[in-house]
Symmetry: C2
Subunit: 321 residues, 2 copies
DNA sequence: AGGCCGTAGTTAATCGATTACACATGGATG
DNA sequence: CATCCATGTGTAATCGATTAACTACGGCCT
């Protein structure tokens, strides 16, 4: 910057003013400065700027698993919204691992992100407290924690799940396998509670960890137990379950009715296409980013609760008639 | 930091020494400092540190499309490797868009990443030159640009593609539809050249843009033209093509032979399972991160060329006998 | 003419770290 | 006993920006 100033025959203060679009500089000086910048190929050091202004124009996003397309879509949406407001997003991948999650959150705080979006790996409020204590704006996304005091953005699947339950019961299923998420995550617990609640005593629950492997194992257990319907509580466990179903050469829906929480572009391509509960991922991501930016802005955004929708495609068989 | 120093009755220099594990401080002073840090909940400002040391311990990764699982896997691998060496990764999503790509690259440079991994959207060397001119370590990943002078990490599909071509020809296919990537990307061009080359005059090529929509459109065109085999040059276009095939109620492999470049976890679940050319995504990501770290370290890593493998699963029909 | 004001630009303090250099202390050496 | 060195710590310059406070200049009013 000193070089630019010298080159243009002004002081660094003037260069800074030009760069920040302040009122002061004459159009003529402005020109000279811009020319010097151009000529020297100068780019301002964002680190120094941030140090001085205590604003990085950066949001942190810590998600549970980058390989899960659900989170990838969310990340994408967050990024879009943030960029449109001049913010940049740093993504941290916690891998459904509490320790890695904490490490990432701390790294992001150390780098002074202006705000943090977190999809907590568990419902333990420890980490959230730590962030709040540091006074950094925080919004929870998809999942919440016990006694959360910050804004939360999530999808509500209750309606869709009860509708699904009603159909299964109506079609005469009496042994319904539920591949549930981890009970120490809000989404894992809530979805399962709603579904088993509406199924009365017909549900058989096995807990997985929101990953493919646990999906196949859970499916194997439940199929051994003789269930006639299988519901996976997220797309990765659904993928695992489908693998197990295929390995046993079972026909959907004839041998087994099947549905998944989370939609994926390839679900309609299966035969039959898979019935799902679709979450509005893009809207979730955008809403979360907006809430966080509002918070950074000093406003106090409300919680956002979007609704997930049951999409019937055929994998439930007669339950869809 | 001043507070910590005061609290421990030492100078900031000593605090800094403790923090950086320098030899100097007495075990006893060290203890006092650590206690003060603990008590005050002090966390050091990474911005200030980076400003002074001119090292951010951060790698930039600009990928073409976060929603493409191929890139998501790569990102994941890069991140793993980087973290294991104490580096953090900032991901930028270019969305197969040159302008957004340039914006992201510049943002990352402004934030003084220690090195940059780039999956270039086109083979235009402009942006690469700009980065090199700035003296920032750069490694290209998956794709290269014309006249690249920096290390490149990619997968070589030539062998797999010729093997695939041989099988198609051997099975008697005479009209083979190729859903190609954009000709201004190295992967788009090279894959297509190899395949059409080994197919003699039997190939019919339609160019897509590595996204789902273009895959369905290209498939529609080619199917209208009466091809008996369809090869998609990446997984998203493959997804689109499958949609079109399904919409027309065509049977694979009876009505149409089908294969895709890129593997995906759900390909084995289709009926029949889809034959693919699988790229070693994880190894690519790790290798790229390693190369970049070597470059940052002042070493001069070689280009890395891994091989993609043909995985036969049944969607080619008799071509697989 | 003298006082006042607005404008364009400069000087220098500051953000929070790192680190070269200076300094003090104490034990070993000639 | 003076000298020297090793060791642990403090002082202050520095990284590259922003910005409050100040100066210089010219015109306007009375």
């Amino acid at each position: 910057m000193k070089d630019v100033a010298q080159h243009a025959g002004v002081s660094t203060a003037t260069v800074s003013r030009v760069l920040n679009g302040h009122a002061a500089p004459t159009p003529e000086t402005r020109e000279r400065v811009l020319a010097a910048i151009e000529e020297l190929g100068y780019r301002r050091n964002a680190l120094a700027r941030s140090l001085r202004t205590t604003s990085t124009q950066t949001l942190g996003l810590v998600i549970s698993d980058l390989l899960n397309p659900f989170f990838a879509e969310i990340a994408r949406a967050v990024e879009d919204e943030a960029r449109s407001q001049g913010y940049c997003v740093v993504i941290g991948n916690a891998d459904e691992n509490t320790e890695q999650e904490a490490t990432y959150v701390r790294t992001l705080l150390d780098r002074r992100v202006d705000g943090l979006l977190l999809c907590p790996a568990t419902d333990d409020p420890g980490l959230v407290r730590e962030v709040s204590a540091g006074g950094v704006p925080l919004v929870l996304l998809d999942r919440t924690v016990r006694g959360a005091t910050c804004p939360v953005v999530r999808a509500d699947g209750s309606e869709a799940l009860t509708a699904l339950a009603r159909r299964l019961v109506g079609a005469g299923h009496t042994r319904i396998g539920v591949i549930a998420g981890p009970p120490n995550t809000s989404t894992g617990r809530e979805r399962t509670d709603v579904l088993t609640g509406s199924l009365g005593g017909l549900a058989q629950v096995v807990h997985g960890d929101f990953r493919q492997g646990s999906g196949s194992q859970a499916a194997a257990r439940l199929l051994d137990d003789g269930v006639t319907a299988l519901i996976a509580m997220d797309n990765l466990m659904g993928l695992g379950a489908l693998g197990e179903i295929r390995a046993r050469a079972l026909q959907i829906p004839h041998d087994i009715a099947f549905a998944v929480f989370d939609d994926q572009p390839w679900f309609p391509l299966l035969d039959p296409p898979i019935t799902v509960i679709a979450q509005p991922t893009v809207e979730m991501g955008r809403a979360a980013a907006r809430s966080l930016l509002a918070l950074i802005d000093g406003r106090q955004p409300d919680d956002v609760r979007l609704t997930a929708k049951l999409v019937l495609r055929g994998s439930l068989g007669e339950a869809e008639l």
